[in-house]
């Protein structure tokens, strides 16, 4: 296996694994936030704000993998 083919196989795989983990975490967080809003609808604004900030932190992990992909993309060639 050459360097290029190893990179071509592993870089998309890295993004997809990161996306899998983020997807699971986002689902769990969204479910918990929706449940909290359902229990206490008057606090919906605060819960939504905390939820969006948490989403941003989780999503950033996938974005790091995506940025790595853009950096290495030129080397796959």
């Amino acid at each position: 296996m050459t360097f290029q083919s190893a990179l071509g196989l592993s870089v998309p795989l890295a993004v997809s694994i990161a996306a899998l983990g983020s997807g699971l975490a986002l689902g769990k967080m969204g479910a918990a936030a929706m449940e909290a809003i359902g229990r206490q609808p008057e606090a919906a604004g605060k819960i939504q704000l905390a939820m969006i900030i948490g989403f941003a932190f989780i999503e950033a992990l996938t974005i790091y993998a995506l940025v790595t992909m853009f950096v290495l993309q030129g080397r796959i060639g």
Partner: protein, 268 residues
Amino acid sequence: MFLLNVVVAVENAGAGPEGPPELPNIITLIYDKFSSMPFAQFLHHWENVFFSLLIAVFLGVLSYFASRKPKLVPGGLQNFLEMVVEGISNFVCGILGEEGKNYVPFLGTLFIYIFCMNMFGLIPGMKSPSSSINTTAALAITVFIYVQYTGIRKLGILGYIDHFAGRPRDLAGILLVPLMFPLHIITELAKPLSLSVRLFGNVLGEDVLIAVFVGLGISIVGFLKLPLGIPLHFPFVFLAILTGAIQALVFSVLSTIYFLMMFPHEEH
């Protein structure tokens, strides 16, 4: 240092022929037509700076015309902008408290500017300057420096060092100082990195997705030899509007929270 390495690596990746696909904009069109002329090369080199300055000029002219003849009972543009400013002010003061009024101009400008930069890529012939890490890193470093300045001014030099040492008040706290000090410094340095890479990655990912689907929409009807394609990227434009707005919100909310973390704590 790591940030600088990423900047250089991304610039090299973008400059190569194998860089991520992007839609043509007015500057790449000018460059294709007059690629030997120095002014076209200059524009192509400073592409992102040109577009971010264009947005800044646009926002400046808009607010000049909105506030040129302020009326007591606002209508039209003035009404809309007052609504936006009031919404941002309430939002920031809701997080930071009464002191937050001093930070509304900075944080509100960040939100409006980043929102406009993200939306600019959806206008045909334009490009999102925030899809380059240089733009987002500049914004994140500005936030970083302002947050540290606020920390030193609010807490004093000793209070600032105390904050970094984890506020030791008893023996256990003092024993933990060698652990807390590097931890706090790394946390502070990771903030601008994550802020800039998050915004840049989201906007670039969205733009590349749209560019790939535009290319696909043209190439699947290529056998007809038409100058048109199928607008396959259409659903992703709405996704891009949503992502752009949320990322602008997240950038300014996280900056607000970094300010909040630097404020003196209530319990002391």
